[in-house]
Symmetry: C2
Subunit: 553 residues, 2 copies
């Protein structure tokens, strides 16, 4: 693509002003690229992103210069360059055969709407720079609140647009959402009382002294997201005070174990600040027993937060929302719209059951975010931020609940179908069943499967571990090669299955959220893996070395 | 605009899949709108955003429903609706006559590039979902680091792409940037030592106990941004421990006063954790004496952070970067690219002088953000986040340092020109001189100016206050009416000028960052204000009531 650029690249004032005023030349490199994006996004991505992976160290050589270039450049030259250096070596997150990410294909309309959002360049921190975007964001939060908590008309009419209340906070993603929830929980617990002005004003030391606690703790399943540790660090609670609670065979937190830990902490005068339930673990997609956790939180009188960053979208399915039963008892819930709601990156939310809750972190300045203003910035962690809520609004309206019902049911059912394919295939082992639309599995030649079952029956722990160690290498080999070939992609994680004595085991991880992923594609992902397995020159000799040559047949 | 929509709106699977696959109809409502955006952004915004302001309560009635709509909708219907409900009532942040915001007109090329960024839908948290976007972001941070700290080739070759180092962190905006800097400063101060595992792991209580401090404090000018209070709350330092230091007549922090406060805190066994210098205060645009602050920070051995969220872009001007002298001695610096660097909302950065510094908040998980990986997420507050760095990269390359030189010099010089216009105009008073491109002023009829000068000469504090109170009302009246008329916009703030005995005074606030704002527009802003002043039916009778009828003539 070599088109004549329509922008002068000299550093004259006149030439610079033109980039702020002159419309795009419809025959320029960038315009033509944009047209392709509009006409056929999938085609554009398929053609522009290189299939074969380039090593990161080579990519880095194109981004080595550390000096801001002196002279201005032609837009077309720059565009050509990033098509080669950046776009070609980005990740095809929306490919139907790339089933290892939590991202999906996007509905076509979010692209022009994003462009409009950027052009409007609103700042949601305050009404003065967002105007109608503020009520829109409040409406999106109201709708998501309603999806979780299902309160009545009076409730929403009273609180959704109330200046001193908020039904949730919009943010860039689940990490900020989780931090916001725990920040609120901490400030609520250690609030002003008598002479004490609250932790927000006086800090942790005086707060603990005032309330007479020796420390705080947060209880969560060992499968909790790493952002919780980040929150504990940031909020001065300390990472060691995130207490990791064991899970059962289905990767769901053991509530009895959690109760015992809570009792023990109480005896040590350590206050449990919050219990976090996971609704869709990152590695295996399982949902904690939320009702039981709500019960426990109520018993020990602490905040109950649910991290449904990934799984929360399943609430949009009337057929499957029962899988998240109990979420309506949470004090706060994290949901990322950029995961299973088909919104582009950068759309996180935390919802609050009680519209007063966020006042624990309310902050006002004398001139903006005034008391009584409807500025959203007074109850969010972020300050300036873009109008991403518009894209969630668009998806909710255009796809509708009935549309999401179909998309989500299809995802969950596709995962069940894939699980069946894996179980029926003699060379694969399903490691975790899909509860939502995420499952894990691995490639295990049938002979090896027999050998491992036999070793388990004989309770030969050493042999099981030995075989699994070899399989870990094989899984890693297959996943890496498949990624590098660029035809399809599954991710890889390490979990500790009950069946394998809780030993760390490497598995393929698949998320089936892309509506364009077909059953045929799923089958071909497995077929490709069978072929790649044959290329591993180390696995079979190693198998031989531990006296399992017959298993390889 | 009534075009036939090309999307079926029924909730069938086939119809839903089409929104993920079928290209935009080039003759649909949304396509036509997008075309207008491309052909003439300013025209689109000018035509689509309603000139007259609609009260927020009326806007809210369009965003009242709290139920996610059941049935899917036509994209065209939705588009029509938001053009009326949302776009028409958003804020025209890029209008050349809207000189009250920190936003500006955008270069045309950021729109198609944003669309590409959304289409690529990368997630910068980890290489696996960002690939070339990660080295690109590291390069942008390297360039900004170089702009501030000007280290040599060896430095950048060694650290810019180093897995276990970072020259800065990209984030959604200045608030997250400031929080990140103070989080790092806190963890650096209260790091692991001997048996103590560091505040990140053990929390604040044990940290203070270990180091033997009774409390922590942060010193900043009384003009510091409200996000610092938010940081102190979040980090468990407590808002009351942000110590507000008085400023001089030019709104610059009084370093001697700060030194005395620091000494006093030391005597109380309260450790000063950080000094924050402001490079461009939100209200008056002034820059603290950064070199002197660096000196003090070194004396008392604490972290020195500079909040240059707004003012930092001035470093791109070789002519004026001396105004920020001393910034190169800061341990960390906040700069927002979405303020004066002409990048759309959502592009904040914090830069670290020492590439090891961010390791104070480094966090790793077993399966992503592994030790030694180049995943950016291991040293950022946010988790998942979009590839906004690409837009900063594009602006730096296409505008270039020489381009920014012109744009920034023009902004600063336009502000000086406007200051001259105000001073020459008999009915206006310049309240604060522009140091960068921000100034404050107010409308004061010449007779009233004389009266106020006379009262000052006579040291008649009461009279000065009385007149100023009336002028506050007038300023508010003018600002509000001007905004509602929709032709032009200045913002309003309250400051405490030395001249008026430090009494709170309401002023117009103007930021001259938009390259399209002409001298003619500036003159017409003043003329419009003169006309609006005549409409205030309360000011002159009140003036009369305090015996100043002659001043009104």
């Amino acid at each position: 693509m070599t088109l004549k650029p329509n922008r002068q690249a000299d550093a004259s004032e006149q030439s610079l002003l033109r980039i702020f005023t002159v419309p795009e030349d419809t025959n320029s490199t960038l315009s033509i690229i944009e047209q392709k994006l509009s006409e056929d996004l999938a085609g554009f991505l398929g053609n522009s992103i290189a299939a074969l992976e380039k090593p990161l160290s080579e990519i880095e050589t194109d981004f080595k210069s550390f000096k801001i270039p002196a002279a201005p450049r032609f837009v077309s030259d720059y565009t050509d360059e990033i098509m080669q250096n950046l776009v070609a070596h980005s990740v095809h997150t929306s490919a139907p055969s790339f089933i290892g990410h939590m991202t999906s294909a996007l509905p076509y309309f979010v692209l022009p709407l994003s462009k409009m959002m950027v052009g409007l360049n609103q700042n949601l921190v305050k009404i003065e720079t967002s105007k109608a975007f503020t009520p829109l964001e409040r409406q999106v939060l109201g709708m998501m609140h309603n999806l979780i908590y299902d309160q009545n008309d009076t409730f929403y009419n009273e609180w959704m647009h109330s200046a001193n209340h908020s039904l949730g906070a919009f943010c860039s993603g689940g990490t900020i959402a989780n931090i916001t929830a725990l920040w609120i929980a901490r400030n609520q617990l250690l609030k002003a009382q008598g002479e004490f002005k609250g932790i927000a004003r006086e800090g942790m030391l005086k707060a603990l002294r005032h309330y007479g606690y020796d420390d705080l703790a947060i209880l969560v399943s060992e499968r909790g997201h790493y952002s919780l540790g980040k929150a504990a660090d940031l909020l001065s609670i300390g990472r060691d005070n995130i207490i990791s609670v064991p899970t059962d065979g289905n990767n769901k937190v053991d509530v009895d174990a959690m109760r015992k830990i809570a009792q023990q902490l109480e005896r040590q005068n350590i206050k449990v600040m919050a219990i976090v339930g996971v609704a869709g673990t990152t590695e295996t997609g399982n949902v904690d027993p939320l009702s039981q956790l709500a019960e426990l939180a109520s018993e020990i009188n602490c905040h109950f937060h649910v991290d449904a960053a990934w799984g929360g979208a399943s609430l949009l399915s009337n057929k499957y929302r029962h899988l998240l039963a109990g979420i309506e008892r949470a004090d706060s819930v994290t949901i990322d719209a950029h995961k299973q709601m088909y919104v582009p990156m950068g759309a996180g939310m935390v919802l609050f059951k009680d519209p007063e809750l966020a006042n624990n972190i309310a902050h006002h300045a004398e001139y903006i975010l005034r008391v009584g203003s409807k500025d959203l910035g007074s109850q969010t962690l972020e300050g300036s931020r873009p109008g991403m809520a518009m894209l969630v609004h668009a998806c909710l309206q255009i796809i509708g609940q009935e549309g999401y019902e179909i998309l989500i049911n299809n995802s969950l059912e596709k995962a069940r179908h894939f699980a069946t394919l894996i179980k029926q295939h003699s060379e694969f082992e399903l490691v975790t069943e899909p509860e939502l639309c995420l499952l894990t599995y691995r490639y295990v030649p049938s002979g090896v499967q027999e050998a491992i079952e036999k070793a388990i029956a004989a309770n030969d722990l050493e042999k099981v571990n030995h075989i699994n160690a070899l399989l870990d290498g094989l899984t890693q080999f297959i996943q890496k090669h498949q990624r590098e070939q660029g035809k399809s992609f599954v991710s890889r994680t390490r979990i500790r299955p009950l069946k394998y004595y809780r030993q760390t085991t490497t598995v393929f991880r698949v998320v089936l959220a892309n509506p364009l992923t077909t059953h045929t594609i799923l089958m071909s992902v497995l077929e490709e893996q069978v072929e790649i397995a044959k290329l591993d020159s180390e696995f079979y000799p190693q198998l031989h070395a531990i006296g399992l040559e017959s298993a390889a047949l």
